[in-house]
Structures are given as structure tokens and as C-alpha cells.
């Protein structure tokens, strides 16, 4: 239970550890992108931490990182091909950021820091919590940026024709601004405790 809370809140991968920032900043221009990215990270994180946890006793220390990297790369390629085959539009919108999950620090971080020392079930719980943590931040960021930047959410127009879009919300600068606010809010809440 504690492990679960850690991933979603107190040890949040994005807002506390500030890992995996690149994809977070890049793909959150719309809610749909955020959802697909979150699913991709969820799939890769859960599958690779379970595998790493299963094979932790037979992998020699010297090559463990290389083995993790191969396992992660395999699952990332699987999800990339899966998106390309079944959701071509989403896959195009996400561009290189799905393949780039390979170098996302959250994944390698959880494999090395948690899965390689714990049982497959504990690793699964940890990965699930971390992915949910990752997802809720992406969903909020994606919604805010899409709403302000194009006056819509998930492609559905909310603000109508009279709305003059705040273009900066869609640009990289907007990503930094809104993520900054979220990290600040997180720190404020934690400081008050």
C-alpha cells in the first residue's frame, strides 16, 4: 500500500523525482497524445519491471544494465509497432516520443532501483503506481494545454469560435510553464504537511 502511494504521490516520478521530463514536456499538447503516451509508458514499465524482477537472479551484475536496456527496448518496440498498426493517427502525432521511451529514466530507474531487488508482484505494484502517477500528470497537462492552446479537449471544441487561442500553451515554453506550476503546487502541498 505504501509502495502504491509512493508512486502516485509522495515519490511521484515526475513531480518529486523529476524523471522522464522530455516526453512529458513534448507530448502533452493534447489530451489524446497524453493518454496514448501514458498507456505506452504503462505497458513498457509494467512488462519490463516484471521481466527484470523474474530474471534478477540469473543476470550477472556486470551486464545487468545492458540486459535491462535490451528488455526495455524490446517492449518499447512492441508498443511502437502496435500503435503504428492499430492507431496510425496517434502514432504519427506522438512521432519519435514512443521509441524514445527506451531512454526514459523512469523505466530504467524503476528496473534498477526497485525491480532488481524485489519480487515480481511487488515490482508489478510499483510499476502500476508509477504509471498511474505518470499518467495523471500527463492527462492534466495535456488537458490544460489543449484547452488553452486550441480551445478544445480531446479534439472537441469547448471555447467556440470567438476564443483566441493562447498559442504559447502549445509551444515548448508553455510546457515548461505549466509543468513548473504543477511542481510548485506539489512542493507547497508537501511543505504544509
Amino acid at each position: 500500500m505504501n509502495q502504491f502511494k509512493a508512486g502516485i504521490w509522495s515519490d511521484h516520478p515526475l513531480l518529486r523525482q523529476l524523471l522522464g521530463m522530455c516526453s512529458t514536456l513534448a507530448v502533452t499538447t493534447s489530451l489524446m497524445n497524453a493518454l496514448f503516451m501514458s498507456f505506452g509508458v504503462f505497458f513498457v514499465l509494467v512488462s519490463s519491471t516484471i521481466i527484470v524482477s523474474l530474471i534478477k537472479n540469473i543476470v550477472p551484475q556486470e551486464v545487468r544494465i545492458a540486459v535491462y536496456a535490451v528488455v526495455i527496448a524490446t517492449f518499447v518496440t512492441i508498443i511502437d509497432i502496435f500503435f503504428k498498426a492499430n492507431f496510425p493517427d496517434a502514432s504519427r502525432a506522438l512521432g519519435p516520443y514512443v521509441p524514445l521511451i527506451i531512454v526514459n529514466c523512469i523505466i530504467l530507474g524503476r528496473c534498477e532501483a526497485f525491480a532488481s531487488k524485489n519480487s515480481p508482484i511487488a515490482s508489478f505494484v510499483d510499476a502500476l503506481a508509477m504509471s498511474i502517477g505518470y499518467a495523471w500528470v500527463l492527462i492534466i497537462l495535456g488537458s490544460i494545454r489543449e484547452l488553452l492552446g486550441s480551445g478544445a479537449i480531446a479534439g472537441l471544441t469547448i471555447f467556440g469560435k470567438g476564443y483566441d487561442p493562447l498559442v504559447v500553451a502549445l509551444l515548448p515554453a508553455g510546457a515548461f510553464i505549466f509543468l513548473g506550476f504543477m511542481v510548485a503546487a506539489m512542493n507547497m502541498i508537501e511543505d504544509k504537511k
Binding site: V59, E62, V67, I81, A85, N86, P165, L171
Partner: protein, 185 residues
Amino acid sequence: MKNTAKIILVLTSVCLLCAASLSLISLWAKDKIAMNEQKRVEEAIKTLAPQAIKIEKDKKNDITIYKLLDDKGELFAYAFNAEGLGYQGTIKIMVVTDTAFTKISGIEIIDSVETPGLGSKIQEPDFKNQFKGLDSTGNIEYTKDIPSKPSQIKAITGATISSKSVVAIINKRIAELKGQKDEPI
């Protein structure tokens, strides 16, 4: 020594297993991905040339082109991809022209990562529609004022580079198809 053997064994088997599963997945997805690509090409052509009943893939000067046939089975236009660098990344364009490549009947932006709100306006009808009926006997051109020639389009304010890139990409590809080499842009 024993450890080295174990390292080699583990790494090799992990890599083999991963490679094997990936080839299975890619075998399953290959046709689907190719079909998606095909569907996208056809959809773009259908919006540009609704009268195209049949689309045939062909090659001209080593470039893939699509022959568009009307209901009588006669060739009336060519469609082809053109791509090149824009302001932020690759722009992919589908172009439909007459059979001599001297008149553009329309363009569709297939892929682009231009700046939202500025360069991304190349995807909007206001910009794309300017290419309908554009004279491509020579190079097409862009201007920042009101177009005065049948081969000119108006560049988007604040996105001159993106507009210029679209024009240059189309010029280059048409020149290649006409068989001209190193056309100055």
C-alpha cells in the same frame, strides 16, 4: 573465466529471445502498417481528385507516382509525394498535377511539425487552396505581397520559411519528375 562464460550466455540468450519476439510482432504488424500507409495515400488523393476512380502505382525517374484514372479508365493526372525540410522538421506533401506536371490541381500536407499557430497554418485550406490550378511550367514562387503571376502563392505572414519550404519542396520534386536536374530554387 566461469563468470565470463555466464555473461556471454545470459546476454546472448536475452538478445536472441528479444529479437525472436520482435520479429514475430513485426511479422504480424507488417501488412497492417503497409495498409494504413496505403489508406492514407488514397484518402489524400481522393480529397484532391475526387474523380479518380482507379489509382495505379508506377515509377517515373525512380520516383513512386500514382496514376489517376477517371471512370473511362483514362489517365488524367498524377499524384506523388514530395518531402523536404521545413522550419522545424520534415514536411511531407501529396501533390496532384496534370500529366505533364505543368499544372498543379492541389496539395495535401501529409506530415509536418511546424510551429503551432504559425507554420502549422500550411495545413489550413486558406494556404493549401492557393495551389489549386497553379502554373508549374517553370518554378512556382511565393510572394509576401498579392500574387501577380499564375505561378505565385502568398506566403503566410509570420511563417515565411514554412511557406518557402513548401514551395521549394514541390519545385524540387516536379523538376525531378520532369527529368530536369539541379533546378535552381
